[in-house]
């Protein structure tokens, strides 16, 4: 009959978690993901408005069943205060990227500066041979920019991974 354990479609989910900012909490959460075989696309951690709490934004790929398990398993952790699977269409998502581009001559420099302006990025460092650009936005936008400047030669790059908040007045409450 094939009643149980049907295959479902995979999609990308953004999980926002409020956690107690204790030593080892990142290891606990990362360990949970690796142990249960959930794939993390990106994870960001930072402090919040409450001093002893941190917010983690975790991007995972998986079907609904896996996502349900991820959220439930996260909720089981004592140091996790609140978990939410954010609605991708109803949240503000941002990522920051620093990219060092090979620009040995004036023409390449001016071209990269132009592109940066179009993408509303910033030139944050400059040298004879390179420009470092800061670019913020959705992951798509950053991908597009990187694609554009790839022809110049990317010397180095650092992306933060996605961080996100729900739109509107709703918040993750610190009550389970």
């Amino acid at each position: 009959m094939g009643k149980h354990g049907k295959k479902q479609e995979t999609s990308t989910h953004i999980i926002s978690a409020l956690v107690l900012n204790n030593p080892g909490v990142l290891q606990r959460i990362a360990g949970l993901f690796s142990r249960r075989g959930y794939n993390i696309s990106s994870i960001t951690v930072g402090t919040t408005e409450t001093p002893n709490m941190a917010r983690m934004t975790i991007v995972v790929k998986g079907d609904d069943k896996i996502l349900e398990q991820v959220v439930k398993q996260l909720n089981k952790l004592i140091e996790v205060i609140k978990v939410s699977d954010l609605d991708v269409n109803k949240c503000v998502k941002r990522e920051l990227c620093l990219v060092k581009i090979h620009t040995p001559d004036e023409s390449s420099k001016s071209q990269v500066i132009q592109y940066t302006n179009v993408f509303r990025g910033k030139i944050v460092d400059i040298s004879h041979e390179s420009l470092t650009v800061e670019i913020t936005g959705s992951s798509d936008k950053i991908d597009a920019f990187i694609d554009l400047v790839r022809t110049f030669g990317i010397k180095e790059m650092a992306r933060t991974g996605l961080t996100a908040l729900m739109r509107g007045p709703k918040v993750l409450k610190s009550k389970k």
Binding site: K3, G5, Q27, K65, K76, E79, K176
Partner: protein, 616 residues
């Protein structure tokens, strides 16, 4: 007051009477504080023994078991025991010593990242870095271990924190701990409860699977009431054994890979499956896609993550089994009254008759006269002697892991909760003997029988010394076939009989071993002697070991892994034929190979001889 003293005080505050442990350098202040305390400390012979004993204590009593090991190897030795407790949701506090905080991270002597090692095998863990945190941390640890879905909690305790002076007046033990991220759901949602009651009323072919959660939440009375009120047959998981009296007409025995035919058929044919405190492990479901194919599923569990994890559920109820069952019963009584008005009785009687006939036609044969002894016969005699000596409500059985465990699970009838203690989820060989120590200490008035195999017994055989030292009267029954029987059975069934490293030789003589430890022992080779020896062992108030020499070719009926539950196959009974090579043979082989490769006769061990190698 020193940190260690405060720690002991905090343990006492939690009602701890007994701890199982093994001292070491990083625990010197802890043991020094223990010197002045009323706590009973059982010194095991290995930290693993301490962890299993604490687990056995917890399972037999329902209280929190406590074990202690020192830093480094002491901590790693606890790991198997703690993981065992985690897999079976047993409330255990594992305390490890740790090097002083100033040395942490320096690869100091006997330093290990205990926090990191224990993290994936505990419900939660702590490292206490200041002595003033001791009272609140211990409180939190116990709260977490014993509430909700119970589980082990680990506390890492650096040596300097144990020695640090602090003022208990200004840091008293808090009555309540603040755990903002922890609030288990106990009461089932009324709407779900009502839906469950309605489904139960409508069902024609209902069946209950009772898991370990029923034992843990002391819901046996409620389970019995529900089953009798609505005439619902009950099967249990391994961990659920004891949650329903197995001599009850509605009992179907254990379900799953080594389940009984009536139980497996009932689950496969039911139209309503009521799963209580079970997690649908692969050992229960077999092939998930064909599990309970016609059934609507009600799943009651205190852990929301278990619901929908392995099996799709129609009516999920998150809550404590006892409370949810009470609510369902109340709901049913309200709608149907005590006479069961509106229950789908007509069709249900047919269902019960069908299962009854399955039960009658599948009474297992147990009265074998064979020599070597068939294990079924020992199980039968054990049940008979328990009956004869009127020990039914006093007996606690611990098992090891493997065939001995499954023979007991399949054939041995358990009547009361917390009297069948076995490592289910992790399947830890070596569990049985130390768990028996814990069970006997937890319930000193009970009769504790440890059923074990020769393999698992030797994994913690050192605990015989603990049993001898403290004169702990447990009866140890070794099902001795000199074979790693479960692996042997699978090799015979699924690997073309290619027996590979599943045979033990004639060493040791377990009777002599036991006597060497100062423990009374007997070997039994004839089925006619089983009863007499068991009687003597159970009546004696001293430790007693019985070495039952059993037929190594005997196996268990089973569902092949990932198979359909109704597809129960019989074991192939082939005698072990594996030969164990002697060291001399191994030596000849090794040296012969060395010669073939053109090495000197002493081989590459000869220092300074350049060995020609292929370059990569």
């Amino acid at each position: 007051m020193k940190g260690a003293e405060a720690f002991i005080k905090a343990l006492e505050y939690e009602g701890v009477r007994v701890i199982f442990g093994y001292p070491g350098g990083a625990l010197l202040p802890f043991y020094d504080a223990l010197y002045d305390s009323d706590l009973i400390h059982i010194l095991t012979r290995h930290e693993q023994g301490a962890a299993h004993a604490a687990d056995g204590y917890a399972r037999a009593s329902g209280k929190v078991g406590v074990c202690v090991g020192t830093s480094g190897p002491g901590a790693t030795n606890l790991v198997t025991g703690v993981a065992t407790a985690y897999a079976d949701s047993s409330p255990v506090i594992a305390i490890t010593g740790q090097v002083p905080t100033r040395l942490i991270g320096n690869d100091a002597f006997q330093e290990i990242d205990a926090l990191g090692i224990f993290m994936p095998i505990v419900k939660h863990n702590f490292q206490i870095r200041r002595s003033k945190d001791i009272p609140a941390t211990v409180r939190a640890a116990f709260e977490i271990a014993k509430t909700g879905r119970p589980g082990p909690v680990h506390i890492d305790l650096p040596k300097d924190v144990q020695e640090e002076e602090f003022d208990i007046e200004s840091n008293p033990i808090p009555a309540k701990v603040d755990l903002p991220g922890y609030k288990p759901t106990l009461k089932g949602h009324p709407r779900q409860v009502k839906m469950a009651a309605k489904a139960i009323m409508a069902a024609e072919r209902p069946v209950i699977i009772a898991g370990g959660g029923v034992n843990i939440s002391n819901a046996t009375e409620e389970l019995l009431k529900l089953a009798e009120l609505c005439g619902i047959p009950v099967c249990t998981t391994l961990m659920g054994k004891g949650s329903f009296p197995e001599d009850h007409p509605l009992s179907l025995g254990m379900v799953g890979m080594h389940g009984t035919k009536p139980a497996n058929y009932a689950v496969s044919e039911c139209d309503l499956l009521i799963a209580i405190g079970c997690r649908f492990s692969d050992r229960i479901t077999g092939d998930v896609s064909s599990f309970a194919p016609y059934a609507k599923v009600i799943h009651i569990d205190i852990d929301p993550a278990e619901i929908g994890k392995n099996v799709d559920v129609d009516i999920p109820i998150v809550g404590d089994a006892k409370l949810v069952l009470r609510d369902i019963i109340a709901c049913l009584l309200k709608i149907c009254g005590t006479e069961g008005k509106g229950l789908n009785n007509q069709n249900r009687e047919e269902w019960l008759r069908y299962l009854e006939s399955l039960k009658r036609s599948n009474i297992p044969k147990m009265d074998y006269e064979d020599i070597p002894i068939k294990p079924q016969r020992i199980v039968k005699e054990l049940m008979d002697v328990i009956q004869e000596l009127k020990l039914k409500d006093k007996i606690i059985v611990t098992t090891d892991v493997g065939q001995n465990q499954m023979w007991m699970a399949h054939y041995f009838k358990v009547h009361l909760p917390r009297t069948f203690i076995s490592s289910g989820g992790l399947g830890t060989m070596g569990f049985g003997l130390p768990a028996a120590i814990g069970a006997k200490i937890a319930r000193p008035e009970s009769k504790v029988v440890c059923v074990t195999g020769d393999g698992g017994f030797m994994m913690n055989i050192q605990e015989l010394a603990t049993i001898a030292d403290y004169e702990i009267p447990v009866v140890i029954c070794i099902f001795d076939n000199r074979t790693l029987g479960m692996v042997y059975q699978w090799q015979n069934l699924f690997y073309g009989g290619r027996q590979c490293n599943v045979t033990f030789g004639e060493s040791p003589d377990f009777v002599k071993v036991a006597k060497g430890f100062g423990i009374e022992a007997q070997r039994v080779t004839d089925p006619k002697d089983i009863k007499e020896v068991l009687r003597e062992a159970l009546l004696s108030d001293e430790p007693y070991l019985i070495d039952f020499v059993i037929d190594p070719s005997e196996g268990l009926p089973m569902v092949p892994p990932g198979g359909k539950l109704k597809n129960i196959i019989e074991p192939v009974r082939v005698p072990p034929r594996e030969r164990i090579p002697s060291f001399q043979e191994i030596k000849r082989k090794l040296l012969g190979e060395a010669r073939e490769k053109g090495l000197s006769k002493d081989g590459p061990q000869e220092m300074g001889t350049p060995v020609e190698r292929e370059t990569y």
